[in-house]
Symmetry: C2
């Protein structure tokens, strides 16, 4: 019988979009190690190591820290579906695509989202948040995006968290793009629930979402009046497997090999040192910015709020942004991201995340933009 | 700085539990190929190939066929959270752990589960189902597990599906353990929604759940009155990415490398031919059964309902079932599964799934049981 299907052979790309970022061969090879059972004694020890590594990356001692068996969207949903009960009010700062998704998640969980909108490309303004919290004294949760992947903006997580606590709210933070790229201090900032992704500054393949919950947040989940609206993401069930203090009770089959990859990526981060990773991202951003300025391109976001790892590059008038991306892919095997939502067509999103935060990538990207702008 | 974390080195095991099963090196190496972006033009073509391969494995032409970015539990939830609206009545046949989970999923989605219970180790009895369907003429969905992983029982999917259609119900089937191990005919049996897993007879690592929906089921989702209670699993959103007929709109970042692994496993299945895969599972079951009989062990399930790929082996009186599993793991690097739920301590679950359905594995397993039973 002839067979139409053949093995795959993806061309290596330089991944400078909004994620995934480049994955180191060490991580790819870790994923190719032998699959073992999710209840294997060796794997149970491995799970404890992995939780410790995630705590290192998030700078937390939270007991309830583990990787959700799905991408960042599953991590986001884990936070909201567990913390929010029907009727709960959640104040959500929205300054890009991902804040908007938080509001949809809250509604799905039966909660009442109270959106606070900010212009895209601007950070969340704590004064406006404070006014909203004052006007909603019954709000249970405040949620915001630390590093908006859609705009390249960093908001002041510590200030926002302390403000929300002063108004007796639990704090949920999206740290998908921030972790390992800029300082993230879950315990020092007193974040109650955080979700992140593997395919950004951690440089593992996409598909998992490390999350962490403070004791206060864990207590809130334990004291729910109504059942969690998801079986797959129900923390009261999942933790019987990941907690492990009372043996591992089977919930779902863990994505064993994907977890190997995340482990290796975190081992590499621990070898580099997380402060060195932050510094590397900052330095590569400066290098990229200089290169872009040299070919006449500027950044959307004002300097104090710029994410080094996610650069929103303004598309000049008269330039076909899609054509530039297409040419970069065809010429250099270089992926650059498009704008999302209301910024579609107006910006390129240039990621410098994880392994991609490297002089090689910056050089290739700068040359691709130089070609596009007719500069040599 | 000294570094407490080191790369991992799992010992290869022979995986004869309830999944994961052994993963072929071709599949492991496929997962280690370069990560590309989830919107890369090459990846978009790859996605179409992958959908075609899943259709091959499920024997369906359903347009709405794709791998959910999470394990089987996420696939189960995808079926129920999309098809069930608050107040919808769902008749669920329960003859093991996984039928019970279906009922919990229906309740999470706001539906009203109508459980029909059968003894564990027995198949679903169509006559009892018919009585329940007659007594519940307003039921919208009928759900059952084709191959109960917790008991090793096969139910008669075709009869159950046609019966449910005669009572105007949509049919949801759990095919996690059946696909590629025994005949599964989604179109011929007129199954409306099916979910499966990668880590059973497909022999890819755990973490993904191929699903497929009939046009009637897709129409039901499109015509919902209330929003889907999950953002991550909402088909009306996910399909903007996987459908691809109108371009790929970003929903979540696909688990790129895990999808490479599933693709390679399905390519291997297409090379073998699915009928040959069914026959191989049946032959290895016969070989195992003969070996077990030779050392005085029997099977829980009556012959007509036995799953070749999931053997519930009765633990003889006076035998410490956990000690047998521990010794097998330590001596032969052989994983055997424990009983689940009410069958805990009463059976071993011996998987012969995918790559594990091989004379090597059968021989090792038979010897381990011979050791345990004091036979040579």
């Amino acid at each position: 019988m002839s067979n139409a299907f053949t093995s795959l052979n993806p061309n290596p790309r330089v991944l400078m979009g909004p994620g995934p970022s480049n994955v180191h061969p060490r991580v790819l090879q870790a994923m190719a190690r032998p699959t073992v059972g999710h209840l294997d004694p060796w794997f149970q020890d491995f799970m404890e190591d992995l939780k410790a590594l995630i705590r290192m990356a998030l700078r937390t001692d939270n007991a309830l820290t583990f990787p959700v068996s799905g991408p960042g969207s599953a991590g986001m949903e884990t936070c909201f579906v567990n913390l929010v009960e029907p009727g709960d009010k959640v104040v959500i700062a929205i300054n890009g695509v991902f804040g908007g998704r938080m509001a949809e998640n809250v509604a799905n969980a039966g909660g009442v989202p109270v959106p606070v909108e900010f212009p895209w490309g601007q950070p969340v303004d704590p004064n406006v948040v404070e006014d909203t919290l004052k006007a909603n004294p019954d709000a249970k949760v405040f949620a915001f995006v630390h590093a908006e992947t859609s705009t390249g903006v960093r908001s002041d997580a510590e200030t926002l968290s302390k403000l929300a606590h002063a108004h007796d709210c639990l704090v949920v933070m999206d740290a998908v793009t921030s972790v390992a790229g800029i300082p993230v201090e879950i315990d020092a900032w007193e974040i109650d629930a955080v979700y992140t992704g593997t395919q950004k500054c951690l440089s593992a393949p996409p598909g998992l979402s490390p999350v962490s919950f403070s004791e206060r947040a864990a207590e809130t989940v334990r004291n729910r009046m109504e059942p969690v609206r998801s079986w797959f993401l129900d923390l009261t069930k999942v933790m019987g497997y990941w907690d492990g203090t009372g043996g591992r009770s089977y919930h779902h089959t863990a994505p064993v090999n994907a977890l190997y990859g995340l482990h290796e990526a975190l081992v590499m981060l621990s070898e580099e040192g997380i402060e060195n990773s932050w510094a590397r991202h900052a330095a590569m951003h400066e290098r990229l910015k200089a290169g872009l300025e040299g070919v006449g391109l500027g950044l959307l976001v004002d300097e104090p709020y710029r994410l080094p790892q996610m650069n929103a590059v303004t598309v000049p008038d008269g330039v076909d942004e899609a054509a530039v991306r297409k040419t970069a892919l065809e010429t250099y095997d270089l992926e650059i991201g498009a704008g999302l939502g209301q910024l579609g067509g107006k910006i390129w999103r240039v990621g410098l995340m994880g392994q991609t935060a490297h002089p090689q990538a910056v050089t290739i990207c700068t040359q691709a933009f130089a070609d596009a702008m007719g500069k040599d």
